[in-house]
């Protein structure tokens, strides 16, 4: 078994094994989930570390392995795994968040067996979806991960609106996924390549581009199908309530990792395979993303519940990623991928911390809380850092991504107005609601009834420490990831925006910024770069 096979198969096999363990052994369930996600995380880190040295195949993928037993040869369908710059960071992030989510699942006290089985299935599905180089299994694993999400929210969710939230998230995400499925099937059929193999399909379409008519039919299906999954405005309303009602681990895994599937699909499939339609529709996306950044940001300011606030802010962050995609140049799309990874860590951290506070106090109403920093020293500091990362403070990985996206978008003359609004929304509105939340929860007088609460012990600190460390390490050394992303993005953008290729190629030397930024004198260097646009 190769590393990639192990990464997705271990959680699924562990889930299968747990089916046969009697339900009274709750400790075994939790222990297995922790152990397996920990091993998965180590494997993913190992894979990430070996990435640069690994042999590359003709299409730019590494660690490629094929398991033809799954799938149907007559349809050109086989389970094929591989990573390149686009998904290597996502797989790493997914594995780390999965371990953190398993750590944060101690709050589950009923029906542990079912919960941990579902958690492991979700983990395996997520990692499989991001590693699959086969169109069918790419969708297959996403659905496999999606179903546990619904069940977990419906059964272990919290709050009075749990049933409504479950209903809404199931409806939205199923519709989104199925619309995307129609698009993917249509893409397979229209390409005429008779293969679900993504690299082969990409090669085939590079030589025989799809007709403009079929592009204009398929691209909107993928855009809005995937867009619903990523809570593109105005299809976002499932997200805040769904996350607000979800158990901690589910919110961490879905908001952090699974949600990125739609974006990954757009970058991997929709943009390079349907460039003409992408050119056209990305203008629409550029304006819709303002809905995410400004409207949802504004909604977030009005929230009184911490989880709803984090949920809304996570929707707002998706807007920045969409802006990066809309820019359709190497810098913007690279930045989008960086935010995808960074936001994964951040969303998992935020929901993990809010879950801790909820378990201590039983409420996330910000008016009820206050002054908690005195009691929750570690959690308070971590929450403040998460808030700062959320408003894009340098030093955290999010900053690298956001600034890159804004530069990428600004260099597209047609997107300058949008970019200006987006910068305001992301930096000012984001800072307002994040800082307000920190003030309301951590500072000020503390109501007497919170005297009894306690800070996290060493083990409970572990997941937060890992996530914070990931944000900071990549924040200070973004090259670890960006230099892996950039070659891949060069290929994808070259396919997606061919007519702009000359200018991009000419300026590629000047625009190496995310990879080549010396870390400690960031601002000077950036302003210097900014003038060259």
């Amino acid at each position: 078994m190769t590393t990639l096979t192990l990464i997705f198969a271990l959680p699924l096999l562990a889930a299968l094994a747990l089916v046969f363990v009697p339900r009274s052994f709750a400790v075994v369930m939790r222990g297995t989930a922790l152990l397996v996600t920990f091993i998965t995380m180590l494997l993913a880190i190992l894979m990430f570390a070996q990435f640069n040295g690994a042999p590359v195949d003709a299409d730019g993928y590494r660690f490629v392995s094929t398991i033809p037993a799954f799938g149907a040869a007559s349809l050109g369908m086989a389970l094929k795994l591989g990573v390149d710059g686009l998904n290597v960071g996502l797989v790493l992030m997914g594995a780390i968040v999965a371990f953190a989510a398993a750590c944060c699942s101690y709050e589950i006290r009923t029906r542990e067996k079912e919960f941990y089985i579902l958690l492991l299935v979700m983990t395996g599905g997520i990692l499989g979806a991001f590693m699959s180089l086969d169109l069918f299994f790419f969708y297959f694993f996403h659905e496999l991960a999606l179903v546990p999400t619904f069940i977990m929210i419906g059964v272990w969710g919290r709050g009075e609106r749990k049933n409504y939230a479950t209903f809404q998230i199931t409806l939205y995400l199923s519709i989104g996924a199925l619309i995307a499925l129609i698009g993917l099937i249509a893409l397979y059929l229209q390409s005429g390549a008779h293969t679900f193999d993504i690299p082969a399909l990409t090669r085939h379409i590079a030589q025989h581009p799809l007709s403009k008519q079929s592009q204009n039919f398929i691209f909107p299906l993928l855009l809005f199908g995937f867009g619903i999954l990523v809570s593109l405005w105005p299809f976002h309303s499932w997200a805040p309530l769904g996350y607000g009602s979800a158990p901690t681990a589910t919110a961490m895994l879905h908001a952090g990792v699974l949600k990125k599937f739609g974006l990954y699909g757009l970058i991997r499939i929709a943009l390079p395979l349907m460039p003409q339609a992408a050119q056209y529709w990305m203008w629409v996306v550029a304006w819709l993303c303002l809905g995410n950044i400004l409207y949802v940001g504004w909604v977030a300011m009005r929230q009184k519940d911490l989880n709803l606030l984090i949920g809304n802010s996570s929707v707002a962050h998706m807007g920045v990623i969409f802006l990066g995609l809309a820019s359709l140049n190497i810098i913007g799309v690279t930045g989008a991928v960086v935010i995808m990874v960074a936001h994964g860590f951040l969303a998992a951290l935020s929901f993990g911390l809010s879950g801790y506070i909820y378990n201590q106090t039983g409420t996330l109403e910000m008016s009820q809380l206050g002054g908690l920093a005195r009691k929750l020293r570690f959690v308070g500091v971590a929450l403040t850092m998460a808030a700062l990362a959320g408003c894009g403070l340098p030093g955290f990985f999010n900053f690298v991504g956001e600034i890159t996206v804004f530069f990428g978008a600004w260099s597209q003359p047609g997107l300058r107005v949008v970019t200006v609004f987006a910068v305001w929304g992301a930096l000012i509105i984001g800072a307002v609601y994040m800082m307000r939340a920190v003030r309301a929860i951590l500072h000020g007088p503390m109501p007497d009834r919170w005297e009894g609460i306690a800070d996290a012990n060493v083990w409970r600190k572990l997941p937060y420490a890992i996530l914070l460390a990931s944000l900071l390490i990549f924040g200070f050394f973004p090259r670890l990831l960006t230099e892996k992303i950039q070659p891949t993005m060069t290929n994808i953008v070259a396919a997606a925006a061919p007519q702009e290729q000359p200018t991009l190629a000419a300026s590629a030397g000047k625009y190496e910024m995310p990879a080549n930024l010396p870390m400690l004198d960031l601002p000077d260097n950036l302003s210097g770069k900014a003038r060259t646009y």
């Binding site: 007559s74 199923s174 129609i182």
Partner: protein, 476 residues
């Protein structure tokens, strides 16, 4: 034709054995007949290994990849239904052996249906199936619901048979042909002949009744609810699959020239059937009634493959029926085992099942997830193939895209009621009865086969898909 003769003889033997056998050994009789059907199933892999095809009775009876595919499906379904019937036998007051032998006679009808290439054979086989089902449906004589179901099925079934035989008469009256092969050569000449087209429509109405397609679906919920559970299981998969094999043969070997112009009719019927079944299933509290509506919806999904008018669509229909076999039998097996001591099959009766029997809870969950069409199970791959088949036709006729979106709406609606069942199994308050359930070895075997089948068709579709594709080649 040796297979069909053996099955008929087996049915007679079971009837005769009843005369000499002590009542307490009837269980063994049921298991023995299931075992024999199982051996016949294994035998099809040996004697007809792919190429030994031919015809009998002057071309009325054909043996080809299509008929082999369906015969294996029918034999497997019957073997499992017979085991379920044994489990159910303590609720049958009298005539257990007749129950087994009627199931076997219905199987004979289905086997003939799979091979029929002639209107006479079509009508005889369909009557053999339907008449045995009249009796099977009303077999729980003590229950009013069962008798009511039997009467409803009898009246509506007789009506549809009348339509069909009238349709056959009209087609024969205009063309003078009974054989599908001969009819195919002249059908194109009659594409404007109103009497001929009326005859074709009447035949389709009769077949529509068998597969429970709109607007001939009225009987389904009542009959599914009232009939003894093994009968319902057999009705859901056996009778429906027989309807589909006849429909495929009729549309694509007898009147291909007409069928090509009727794609819009098939699209509309398929879309309405999907929506009707799914929407009506939402408020149901009786599990068998819910599965009745869901079976209407699945008839709609299957009709998508027929409406595609391509080999890919026909192969998808067969693949889907294969998955449907395992999921339906699994669901009804759980109903038989859990609810045999309850008066009604209310979903509330499933409460606490996850503690009473983890195996049954798992089986029912997998069946529901597969019916809903979620990976990694059989139903997902089947729906994927059906969708692929109709989207492939989309550029030619945009109605197919609308059908695809209707199917998606149906799938989303169905998530609601299928998850409702799963919720009752795992997450509802404990029921009054918390005693662990005893499951006999043969029943465990059936559950195991179903679980393996559901996963196998979901994860390793290659072999069955190739077989279905080969079978679909027969039709064009």
């Amino acid at each position: 034709m040796s297979l069909e003769i053996t099955v008929v003889l087996l049915g007679l033997a079971v009837l005769l054995a009843d005369l000499w056998m002590a009542p307490e050994r009837r269980r063994a009789l049921g298991y023995a007949s299931a075992a024999i059907v199982g051996i016949l199933l294994l035998n099809t892999f040996d004697s007809h290994s792919g190429t030994v095809f031919g015809s009998a009775a002057g071309g009325m009876f054909v043996q080809d990849a299509l008929s082999i595919f369906f015969k294996r499906l029918f034999l497997l379904a019957t073997a499992m239904v017979l085991i379920l019937a044994v489990e159910f036998s303590d609720r049958i007051t009298a005539g257990v052996s007749e129950y087994y032998s009627l199931i076997i006679f219905a199987l004979a009808g289905m086997l003939f249906a799979a091979s029929s290439n002639n209107f006479v054979m079509l009508f005889v086989s369909i009557e053999l199936i339907t008449v045995t089902f009249y009796v099977l449906t009303s077999f729980s004589r003590g229950k009013v619901a069962s008798l009511e179901a039997g009467v409803k099925y009898l009246i509506l079934g007789a009506l549809s048979s009348a339509f069909m035989v009238y349709g056959i008469a009209l087609v024969w009256g205009t063309t003078g042909k009974f054989s599908f092969t001969e009819l195919a050569q002249v059908a194109g000449d009659y594409s404007q002949n109103k009497v001929f087209l009326t005859g074709v429509l009447f035949i389709l109405a009769g077949l529509g009744f068998k597969i429970a397609a709109f607007p001939f679906q009225m009987w389904t919920p009542d009959v599914y609810q009232g009939a003894p559970t093994p009968t319902t299981a057999f009705l859901a998969i056996g009778s429906k699959a027989a309807g589909f094999v006849l429909l495929l043969r009729f549309l694509f070997t007898a009147i291909p020239a007409i069928t090509d112009h009727w794609s819009n009719l098939l699209i509309v019927i398929s879309a309405i059937t999907i929506l009707y079944g799914n929407l009506c299933a939402i408020p149901q509290r009786n599990l068998k009634r819910l599965l009745g509506y869901s079976s209407i919806a699945h008839a709609g999904y299957l009709l998508m493959g027929v409406a595609a008018l391509t080999s890919a669509g026909q192969a998808a229909v067969m693949y889907y029926l294969g998955g449907y076999l395992f999921t339906t039998i699994a669901a009804f097996a759980v109903i038989v085992l859990v609810m045999r001591h309850l008066d009604s099959e209310d979903i509330g009766g499933l409460a606490g099942l996850s503690r009473r029997s983890p195996l049954l809870a798992l089986t029912l969950t997998l069946a529901m997830v597969s019916l809903a069409g979620l990976p990694p199970l059989a139903g997902f791959f089947g729906k994927f193939l059906l969708l692929k088949a109709i989207i492939e036709q989309g550029p030619a006729n945009h109605g197919y895209y609308w059908l695809a979106f209707t199917a998606l709406a149906g799938v989303v609606i169905s998530l609601y009621y299928y998850f409702g069942v799963i919720r009752a199994v795992y997450f509802s308050k404990e029921g009054a009865d918390a005693a662990p359930l005893e499951i006999s070895r043969p029943a465990q075997f059936v559950l195991g086969v179903c679980i393996l089948g559901i996963f196998w068709l979901g994860l390793f579709p290659g072999a069955v898909l190739d077989f279905a594709t080969e079978a679909a080649q027969v039709l064009r």
